[in-house]
């Protein structure tokens, strides 16, 4: 056995090959007029229409039971949908979080009523979710969470502030990580998860946080004695830490962890058309080798998830190595092509490069900072 097993992913079955062909045609038809600059938004692109079309065509909730609107397909078939969506720059934001982590968490921990009412609508591309984890004083240190939910009969009264919630201003729900008993000093104990309806929660105000690119993805959610029905408790009260760790495992494993800048690679290749110098050839060759291997590692993780193995260590490694790839791509591009990036340019290359340079810093922050991930990997190796 290898020191850190990454089992070889099985060869693509005829079903997987057919699905890829069919889905590429779907994307081609859906995304015909999307500009390179728009495509470079990657999973920050948000389109209700596109998500509904995905749901209608049966590409969401791929692995879930049919009973809940899912399609009972394999983790590999879902991986095809995810990687092809990202590689083509599809605006997946309106179903991304729900399909990736909120839905699977609800499927795993939710009540029958929650599953019946929410999952089919996610699978139909009708419900958008945000993530309710980070707080002003608790980012990487999630266990320091302060947002408090106090039980009051058949409801919870919620007080506290969440930050960095992508799409909270557009989405329908978040899964809120909060404290239902004790104090932040209790760390993992006394935490729970609540399903919060963003469109219908008295006492909740949502305020934009504008990022350095001038874009509005992030939000602050401020809960002031906000009312959440007790039936919206997800899983068990007090079991929030285990549940949120399970949710993070869904979040860390996918190809979005190295494909964020793929549109820049595609535009760079267009700029290099006809170039036959060793610098261009060797740099692109090396980047391509790295990408192919990352993709293989990610497919290994999918194989492990399919076999119900614990892939937390492997997923963290893929995210760590993957973030380096997507984040350093602009530097390699700059060694090959001189171009001043321009965030308002209609020119494909200058506009895409600007968007990527602006957004790249976030890729080693979101979903667990590089430093946290490396700590997790080191612990997985038996240190500490």
């Amino acid at each position: 056995m290898s020191a850190i097993p990454f089992p070889a992913p099985p060869a693509d079955s005829p079903e997987v090959v057919a699905l890829r062909t069919q889905f590429r045609a779907f994307l081609h038809q859906q995304l015909g007029d999307r500009t390179p600059r728009q495509r470079s938004d990657n999973w920050y692109g948000f389109s209700r229409d596109f998500s509904r079309a995905m749901g209608h065509a049966g590409y969401l909730g791929m692995t879930w039971p049919k009973q809940y609107g899912g399609h009972e397909r394999s983790a590999f078939e879902r991986a095809v949908i995810v990687e092809e969506s990202l590689a083509s720059g599809a605006p997946v934001g309106a179903h991304w979080i729900a399909d990736r982590q909120s839905g699977p968490s609800i499927l795993k921990f939710g009540t029958d009523e929650q599953k019946d009412t929410i999952l089919p609508r996610i699978a139909a591309g009708e419900l958008a979710f945000g993530i309710g984890m980070s707080e002003p004083d608790s980012g990487s240190d999630l266990a320091a969470t302060r947002t408090k939910a106090v039980r009051d009969g058949d409801l919870y009264r919620v007080t506290g502030t969440k930050v960095w919630t992508s799409f909270a201003h557009e989405a329908d729900y978040v899964i809120l990580f909060c404290r239902t008993s004790g104090t932040p000093a209790d760390r993992h104990q006394g935490t729970s998860q609540l399903l919060v309806n963003l469109k219908d929660t008295p006492g909740l105000t949502i305020r934009p946080i504008i990022d350095l690119a001038g874009q509005h993805h992030f939000n602050e959610m401020h809960f002031e004695d906000a009312i959440v029905p007790a039936k919206y408790l997800l899983g068990k009260e007090g079991d929030g830490w285990n549940q949120v760790m399970s949710e993070l495992a869904f979040e860390r494993s996918g190809p979005e962890r190295f494909l964020s800048s793929i549109e820049l690679m595609l535009q760079l290749l267009n700029m290099l058309k006809g170039r036959d110098d060793d610098a261009a050839l060797a740099t692109i060759g090396r980047l391509t080798a790295q990408l192919a291997v990352l993709r293989r590692l990610s497919r290994s993780v999918a194989a492990m998830l399919q076999d119900k193995q614990d892939a937390a260590l492997q997923a963290s490694i893929v995210k760590d190595v993957g973030a380096v790839w997507e984040q350093t791509l602009p530097d390699f591009a700059r060694q090959l092509v001189d171009a001043e990036p321009d965030p308002r340019s209609a020119a494909a290359y200058a506009g895409v490069l600007a968007n990527i340079v602006h957004n790249a810093p976030s890729w080693s922050l979101r979903g667990g900072t590089r430093e946290i991930l490396r700590g997790i990997i080191a612990r997985g190796l038996g240190t500490r």
Partner: protein, 329 residues
């Protein structure tokens, strides 16, 4: 099963004294006899060809193990050469073998002449599986003399060979020896990185500085995580190259080989740094692995050779064709 046998063999016959002898350029006849006795030179052949009929995973594990023990003799070269010879329908090697490609050799009146650069243990091997153009030649030991001595970074012989041989065994080339060599090297690199990570974990757990094991420091933990990432990439890269070689896809071999070569350098660097000064000496066994990694990453076509092939294919594919090309690797 095979892995256990290899482990036992290497534990018994490959100690530090044997490694030191190999560094002096001395062949290890007792070790080679054991390798032959076990049938390792035929390990990559199918059962029909008289091999073990190993699964892909078993073959990969065997190759990685040879890297994990820094096997100094050209065992993987012999395995790959025999696979090539068997695929071409030529007689297998007697004893150890090498494999090479040299397109500037001349074939005049049935006589092959020219120089093949830097063949591992070129004086000691019995046979060379040599590609020239689209043909494979099975050159016996009597078909060459040493043109120039050479030494690898881990101090094993790499003489350049002056071929002068009346061709009596050749066939159409089934696959490129450089691709085959690059693939087995990728597996060796993954294996050597496994050893380097294990040693580094052990060293940083037991070495105490400032009153605590090195491993208790976050900066050290982060370097360990990066080393684990390089190991993961090398392992996946070797598998990628192995699968690509089996289906005759040179670009896939290029991708896997390139990433493994890169991991060799980065991984060796981290492992040495984490060991501190002792990792820079021959007193600690780490050098067996770091010098092997630095050797293997530049053999069977270099970084530029493989990267430019893959890069040219990518630039030709352009923005439109790139992703389909990547998913086919």
């Amino acid at each position: 099963m095979l892995a256990d046998m290899i482990e036992r063999l290497l534990d018994r016959h490959l100690d530090d004294a044997a490694q030191a002898q190999a560094r002096e350029g001395q062949w290890l006849p007792a070790l080679w006899a054991e390798v032959e006795e076990m049938g390792l030179p035929l390990a990559l052949l199918t059962e029909d060809q008289g091999g073990f009929g190993l699964s892909f995973e078993e073959a990969g594990e065997a190759l990685r193990l040879l890297g994990r023990h820094a096997m100094p003799l050209p065992v993987v070269e012999t395995m790959a050469a025999n696979q090539l010879l068997a695929a071409a329908g030529l007689p297998l090697a007697e004893g150890a073998a090498g494999l090479a490609r040299a397109d500037d050799l001349k074939l005049i009146d049935g006589r092959l002449t020219g120089t093949v650069p830097r063949v591992a243990w070129g004086e000691q091997i019995g046979c060379l599986a040599l590609a020239v153009g689209d043909r494979l030649y099975r050159v016996p030991r009597s078909g060459w003399s040493v043109a120039e001595q050479g030494t690898s970074l881990n101090f094993h012989p790499r003489p350049s060979l002056a071929i002068d041989w009346a061709v009596d065994a050749s066939a159409p080339l089934p696959h490129c020896p450089l691709a085959a060599g690059a693939t087995v090297r990728a597996f060796q690199i993954a294996g050597a990185l496994e050893a380097a990570l294990a040693m580094t974990l052990d060293h940083t757990a037991t070495r105490v500085q400032f009153g605590k094991p090195l491993q208790k420091n976050q900066v050290v933990q982060h370097e360990l995580a990066k080393l684990a990432g390089e190991l993961a990439c090398a392992t996946a890269a070797a598998d990628l190259a192995g699968e690509a070689l089996a289906r005759g896809d040179t670009l896939g071999v290029a991708a896997g080989s390139l990433r493994a070569r890169e991991a060799a350098g980065t991984g060796a660097g981290i492992a040495t740094q984490m060991h501190g000064a002792i990792g820079f000496t021959r007193e600690h066994r780490l050098h067996l692995y770091t010098t092997a990694l630095w050797t293997w990453r530049d053999e069977f076509g270099g970084q530029v050779f493989w990267a430019t092939q893959l890069g040219r294919a990518a630039i030709t594919a352009g923005g439109q064709g790139y992703w389909p090309m990547v998913t086919a690797l």
